[in-house]
Symmetry: C2
């Protein structure tokens, strides 16, 4: 039975036998092997006898897989409490240094490692990123489990394209070369696998609402898709979303849930991934050294996470947000590129000003203009004419921008139907969604969190391609 | 703040104030409202004053959403320990009985409810099924979290189609009506979103292997797809798979992991969903009453789950399995429809005989013929010529058949490349997979579990369409 390195390094025991298996991270003086097995950030030092067979020694290169048997003893050297005095060493798989892509004199760049995504798990940075990603995912499930939510798998392939959240990918088994056609020459999707035209989902919200109206509290956590040609550090064509939906919740309770949720998962990572986060914090400082002083983060990574976990998020209405922007020195000095006035869809520069300059903490903006938001959001009562708003909420995070978007949903059948007609959403096709308002409707609310944006925020990475194992972006579906 | 019905029914306290919100399951004598909020199987009885406003009473139909305030008191009637003496009642959403699809005199059939999948969450059966499904999903994450595995999201959209696990769905943004073409008339996929032809994944295993060879122990839990025109009670076009992959594990350790895993998640459901499983057990008995005696289950649902959780799985080689079949009375009486001989891909009737008649427990069959298994399975050493086997394992469960398929992987580069060439799998395109064998290769093993088959097994449902919220099958992608 192998012992995991994490166990050895976190134990206070010494003088016991172990078998350790892992990969060589360094080999010094023909004597000291640093072995990492992925269970934690740190490697364990294995000390081999100087008399070890020379032929064997030649096989111990960086990246080689090894198995060592020996005794855990207090370390003679600096930098570690314990080390393994090796009695038996086996090289399971060699790693020819002249061919190994990670065998570089200089530290490989993140861009280079993206091209080698199949191997980047082996670096300190990506080991840390994917262990943190894991912890955040588990924390999400644990948070909802503790509160009695039901995890729900909403469909990935969908014939519904009503939400209009973005461009969609078509899913089909028809032959592209020569698809069956109708008499008028159009493609006959009745012959397709599902008997109609189908796409990859952009959100599980509408289906989650159906379940929430019976099971009470549900959440989704699954992949969603956007076929948008955005080659930015913030966009993926395939990404994971978390979408809780709660019967009887109002906008206020929705905000409370979202804030508790974000704090919970951040605390979980701080508690379970301290060494990973400390490594990533140092990485971020190094990266920022290349930036001018005023663009560097004011807080270190861990300091930032602790600040967010331990302080209330600011809550303001959209109307208040616009007013803050209009009164800002930034606006008066004409430093905003885009217009500021009631009714605009705030740009990234506006959101960043609110979060990073004005409040210096996460901000929940509520009650946005109806005209810039989705059909299913609950229309606010008693609005001034021309200033109609909806019970929407966006959470804006420092350095990331929008991390959560949510709303109380329109539960009133007449208002919902009216709004769908205004927005040219086919009410007949959407009968199943409207049925929840016909039969035992009730107030309810939910939100969506882009999982990769959360991972970006917590790891301090700056390109979203670096927080998902195999990113899908325009012209890229490698591995 | 609303109190959830589960809390009220599992508490020993009485004489405290609550607000309860949920949906009416029944309304008797203009006085007793059974309210369900999805938090548990059972409804709570709310007792209203006989003098309550008649107009209000008319609105309290089955399916209506209500909010009641009152006091939890010891129940006067039979069937429940406590009930709510209502001081305030509000109907949040009516449910017009003449239009409501679930308002039926007779219990609606499962087939009927499949057509109304957006409302079936509101029935006892589907409430129970989806709460159990949730618990199983959570138990999966908890099992791996406790063991230090890293949860990994493998890509859904993939350009790799090498595994050959089945027919695939194409993903594209090219216009079907008039796609861009090459000079030879073929469709020019370089113009497609990803710059090449892409499909929906059939498995995350190959990518999970990449991560396991650095992080040590990983698992996936995500949707996978098969574009097969199978309209059976066991097949879905879109289903969820769990795929653990562990560096340094052998076939034996792989079996131990899979057996521990299945027992863990079953015990979790037995512990957390007792009332749901008791309801489903009764449902199953009712369903089986329509079958001839000899086709009925020998054990009740809960008895079966406890048996599986508490007994060792049988472990036999494929060669032993064939020998048992050949020596069986069943074979001698010529009752098998399909041939039995070394080398066959066992049919469902063979697997069911082993599991349900011979061993009467789950069976792990190992070391299958190389010729009927995938290229990545480790070739057994020292095989008799013409009887070459691989380190594969399938777990067969009573009533379900194959629930897990796994193997130790071929870690030897030369043997793997050779096998890929024999099976016409392009080694150049798969360089990234082969790189794990080039650089620090090591023994490793993993398996895949079809999540919906597990849910079928645990809930005792018999059609796989009834254990996923919105099933995708040929000609069906509703909701």
């Amino acid at each position: 039975m192998r012992t995991k390195i994490k166990e050895i390094l976190t134990s206070d025991q010494v003088n016991y036998s172990v078998i350790v298996k892992g990969w060589v991270r360094s080999f010094r003086n023909n004597q000291f092997i640093a072995i990492n097995d992925g269970s934690c950030m740190d490697s364990v030092q294995a000390v081999i006898d100087l008399d070890t067979d020379e032929q064997l020694i030649r096989k111990i290169g960086n990246g080689a897989a090894v198995s060592v048997e020996g005794t855990v003893i207090p370390s003679q050297g600096k930098g570690q409490k314990v080390e393994i005095k090796v009695t038996k060493l086996e090289v399971l798989g060699e790693c020819p240094g002249d061919e190994y892509p990670l065998q570089l004199k200089n530290r490989p760049s993140l861009e280079f490692l993206r091209e080698k995504a199949h191997l980047r798990f082996r670096t300190n940075t990506f080991g840390a990123v994917f262990r943190v990603r894991h912890s955040l995912a588990f924390a999400i499930h644990e948070f909802f489990q503790k509160r009695g939510f039901v995890y729900m798998h909403t469909p990935i392939i969908t014939a519904s394209d009503a939400e209009g959240a973005g461009e969609m990918f078509r899913v089909s088994t028809l032959p592209f070369d020569n698809p069956p056609r109708n008499e008028d020459g159009s493609v006959n999707f009745e012959e397709d696998f599902f008997g109609k035209s189908t796409n990859l989902t952009v959100s599980g919200q509408l289906e989650a609402e159906l379940a929430a109206m019976a099971l009470g509290e549900v959440y989704t956590f699954g992949p969603t898709f956007r076929a948008e040609n955005s080659n930015t550090a913030r966009h993926l064509a395939e990404f994971w979303m978390v979408e809780p939906e709660v019967a009887f919740n109002t906008l206020k309770e929705n905000m409370d849930l979202a804030e508790d949720f974000i704090k919970y998962v951040i605390r979980f990572a701080l508690e379970h991934n301290r060494a990973d986060l400390e490594f990533l914090a140092t990485r971020l400082i190094d990266e920022e050294k290349q930036k001018p002083q005023q663009e560097r983060s004011e807080m270190g990574l861990i300091e930032k996470l602790e600040f967010v976990a331990n302080n209330d998020f600011e809550r303001i209405t959209y109307t208040e947000a616009i007013s803050i922007l209009l009164q800002s020195p930034h606006y008066k000095k004409k430093k905003f590129e885009y217009e500021v006035s009631w009714g605009i869809d705030m740009q990234s520069e506006h959101e960043r000003y609110l979060v990073e300059k004005h409040f210096k903490k996460p901000v929940i903006v509520t009650n946005y203009p109806k005209s810039i938001k989705a059909f299913y959001m609950r229309q606010d009562d008693n609005c001034e004419a021309g200033k109609e708003t909806v019970a929407a909420m966006d959470i804006l995070a420092p350095g990331i921008g929008e991390i959560v978007g949510g709303s109380q949903r329109e539960e009133r059948l007449d208002k919902l139907e009216q709004r769908m007609k205004e927005m040219h959403i086919p009410t007949e096709e959407m009968y199943w969604y409207l049925d929840t308002r016909r039969f035992g409707t009730a107030p309810h609310a939910g939100f969506g969190l882009g999982f990769e944006r959360l991972v970006l925020f917590v790891t301090g990475m700056t390109n979203i391609r670096d927080v998902i194992p195999f990113p899908r972006t325009p012209k890229n579906a490698e591995f």
